[in-house]
Symmetry: C2
Subunit: 636 residues, 2 copies
Amino acid sequence: MVIFMKAQKQISQKAYMSEGFIGKYQKLVRDTVIPYQYAVLNDKADGAEKSHVVQNFINAGKALCGEDAGDGFYGMVFQDSDAGKWIEAAAYSLHNFPDPELEKNVDELIEIIAAAQDEDGYLNTYFTIKDKDKRWTNLLEAHELYCAGHMMEAACAYYEAVGKRRLLDVMLKNTEHIYKIFIEDGHGGFPGHPEVELALMKMYRLTGNEKCLALAKHFINTRGTDPDYYKRERAGRDWTVWGNNAEDNDYQQSGVPLRKAERATGHAVRAVYLYTGMADLAAETDDTELYTACKRLWESITKRQIYITGGIGSTVIGEAFSVDHDLPSDTAYAETCASIGLMFFASRMLENEVRGEYADVMEQAFYNTVLAGMQLDGKRFFYVNPLEVIPGISGVSPTHRHDLPQRPGWYACACCPPNVARLISSFGKYAYGESSDTAYCHLFAAGKVSFENGMSLVCETEYPYGFTVKYKVSGSGRLAVRIPHWSGKFSLDVNGNASSNLPENGYIYLSVSDGDEVILTLDDSPRFVYASGKIPRLSGMAAVCRGPLVYCFEGIDNGGDVLSLRLDTGKEIIAESSPDLLGGTVRLSVPALKISQTDSLYTSQKPFSTPCEAAAVPYYTWGNRGENQMRVWIPD
Amino acid sequence: MVIFMKAQKQISQKAYMSEGFIGKYQKLVRDTVIPYQYAVLNDKADGAEKSHVVQNFINAGKALCGEDAGDGFYGMVFQDSDAGKWIEAAAYSLHNFPDPELEKNVDELIEIIAAAQDEDGYLNTYFTIKDKDKRWTNLLEAHELYCAGHMMEAACAYYEAVGKRRLLDVMLKNTEHIYKIFIEDGHGGFPGHPEVELALMKMYRLTGNEKCLALAKHFINTRGTDPDYYKRERAGRDWTVWGNNAEDNDYQQSGVPLRKAERATGHAVRAVYLYTGMADLAAETDDTELYTACKRLWESITKRQIYITGGIGSTVIGEAFSVDHDLPSDTAYAETCASIGLMFFASRMLENEVRGEYADVMEQAFYNTVLAGMQLDGKRFFYVNPLEVIPGISGVSPTHRHDLPQRPGWYACACCPPNVARLISSFGKYAYGESSDTAYCHLFAAGKVSFENGMSLVCETEYPYGFTVKYKVSGSGRLAVRIPHWSGKFSLDVNGNASSNLPENGYIYLSVSDGDEVILTLDDSPRFVYASGKIPRLSGMAAVCRGPLVYCFEGIDNGGDVLSLRLDTGKEIIAESSPDLLGGTVRLSVPALKISQTDSLYTSQKPFSTPCEAAAVPYYTWGNRGENQMRVWIPD
């Protein structure tokens, strides 16, 4: 096996301007999500739960000046991170849509944050306001490094997209402080919620600061080497945040050294954030052993623990990975943030090695779970993404309380909405990549993209609804175009001539010149999909997909009742363009049977079945037309 | 609708001597379960968890005499009830199989218990040893009335089956004490875990003691009239047993007056014990309103919340009823005790009104969940009875930890094993009933039964494997024979002549005379069964039954893998007598397809299917041949 270390890297935020499907989503984030979230952070959004994020920073600043800290700290211990994620989303969006007022708001918030930084570089409002002496005594629960990580990501994004380095300087000073504590002073432990590892790698890549790299290495290399660390930490303090179990090393991925880890365990978001940092470090330092560990974890997730929608972390208990093949549709957890984190991980795996499977999973997670996390109007969000919802059971049964039939508004624990916003706003980084000699098209995203080697592309496509992707080339060089795993057939034409190049690890490589027109045509046929016989809950069932989109059946399109549908997989599915449905979509008409209903719970009378056409819509659009039944998997 | 109040009643334990299938089970209980449980109670069973039950009573007796209470109290707050349930099982068994040594052991234990009763009649080792001042201050959790109820049931059983009234006198004195507290002194509240209501009704029926009736009425009529009772109780004490939520009125069936209750909620065992007491009281006092409430609760359970196996209480969260139609196979709770309690409830509903559906459910619960609760050798027990077990997921996944692939031994919380023992030992009470003019055959149980009106029957049958039931009549009178709901066809012959009488509410009524031979022939065809389309988890699936037995598919009979089976419900199932299998059973050969396996988690390649014969065995026999896959419902 040939492994190409640091095979290619994400493009800069400045290199891509979007249009088409992604462009519309980026506009929605600009118009709706970012302003709403800004209002929330400032406690000015009607109907949202109190956030207090900005006020926490203001109060911390006062406390540092010896003034009265006003109404003190309010919110989750990781409340600061909401500011980081919002700034990151705003930063990316400011490149997409320059907006002096938004930029002014960001600058002002950054000043408030800077004022909340202690002289020694420490930055965390919870401890600064509540009790400075407790800093770093509860790595297990207190999210200090997690909050630092999100602010580092914000700092990188704002510098990269807008060019201002005020927050970057704050976070470099913060890094100095963390370096002193964990490296110079030898403080033990590693972050309870991983995040700072990948953030430190971003800081290192952007600034070349070696302390960032050293810290990321330190946290990754020490994790799991001392499985009793949290236990000792817990014994050494008389307080907890939530009473987390300090001995649950599976939950916090701290039971074995990461290089020896065999399978993804525990809290799914923590896991994929951690693995992202590992893959980053592996690519950046040519660390083959670490990359091999990443591959094992990748396979553990994507071969045995992933939903067809790209959701991961199937159990609500710990918001965690369960055992292999335990993938219930109705009690799924499948947190939006976990699929976003999986995209991060996939994108970093691509930096180690260009393999189509990484981009396939990135696409699967994005077009299904990540997009489903947000209502089509950008105003409400799912944290949890079930593949089946039955009103009367979902959200009500004791085992289904987390699986809501409708998206709620802003959460007290508001991790998902800003995560969706920053992901969508920086979509180009996931869609395109570059190495010194090659431009990579991982995902199909309309718009203009420029590469550091001088080549640029204009991409025209109706993807994910149209399956022709046209690239107009400026400059020249090598171009790599991904052929998605799901596309049973495809053609690639250069200036009207079919390319005879075969895919290598899921990509076709072409030499292109200025003025070339490259047209990729993918399979537009809807298809039935079957699950492995090892997934008990899916035996005898089939799902329906087209392109990267997983479809679902909603009651509103099917006489109110999808439980009585059976798919007739021997016949063909028809795609119907539906510009007025769900903001413009393609509806599928699926050959099916409708099963008669009886009054008894159990009967030996075989029910009748009547042929019918069942209607399916993309999974990401579900729950946008009121509460009703929804099902991805239907008995065959 | 004509309702016949107190339509008929259970026969006395002394009226039935068993043979056949039930007789073998009663011998197993005599030979294995009762001796083992006696050893457990005395902490002399190898490998069992410490019980301390007998020692608790000894220590309480010492405490009452002012002596040192030795090693004090050990175990669950309801540990005393294990003694009650064991005595009850032993009492019934002593009628079935007289045994002077066992009787001596019971007598000695009763003396130990009597010595633990306080002068005022109070009897509970937890409070007597630990803190007398806390008596009756924690009805929510402390199980004082629950333990009293089980000891009352034991007292009734021992008097009824063996004729000795020492324990009955102890419990009548205890009843006086409870009456003083709750009626004369006006102590508020009602039992956290219902049980004493049905026990008081047994005491009343056996002794005519009006205080028993008054107390049962009091607890049933006050429950739910003061939904804040437990909340106030909780506020009034500074200790808890487990920290139960005092405001969860659904859990403890205390949110609405029982006469107004619309649906079964909360902890399933508590619910059916309570409803049994309600139905008892309704029958005994001709209380139509109360019986109507019982019917609503009955329908709520049996029309919308019951498994095909007669299991109830589908969720592990609170060991409770979930919402209607939420009946997962793999994460089922379906506690053995809950199905036993459902049999109690059904039997008392029959005392209000003779309807076949009550006996149908009694039979469904007994032959499937109750029997499945015990290993075929009588040595290990299931508390939880899933309808699907997949090693690697069941017992391991965070949401499936309670669903074990194999029966464990004795539990720290040992409610189910003695419950199975007392139920099996008193099976005649459920199988036969009587009114002043009619002998009722509710269930088909070989052996001899005598009725108070002088009639007696000898019943010969191989049921539940043979479907001919022969009754030889001595004496004369009216005989009512149940025609089970599941029997698509049947014949009833009297002395060789077919009876033309039609079933009324599920029973055929005959006038019989001395020497008559009545032969009932039921449908012996195996059948496919389909679930209501309202049960999401069962859409597209079918199960297989024969007579009252639900069948299941185990890996050991099907090449290790039942997940790849699909039933071919268009063809016939073949029954094969298998005397050497699982202690003697009938195996079913079921037309099916075997689906090919792929390596990928999801694929658009439709799997191949190959016709095969799948083998099914009765559900009650599952898990007796090592850990393997098991499934009741298979895709059709």
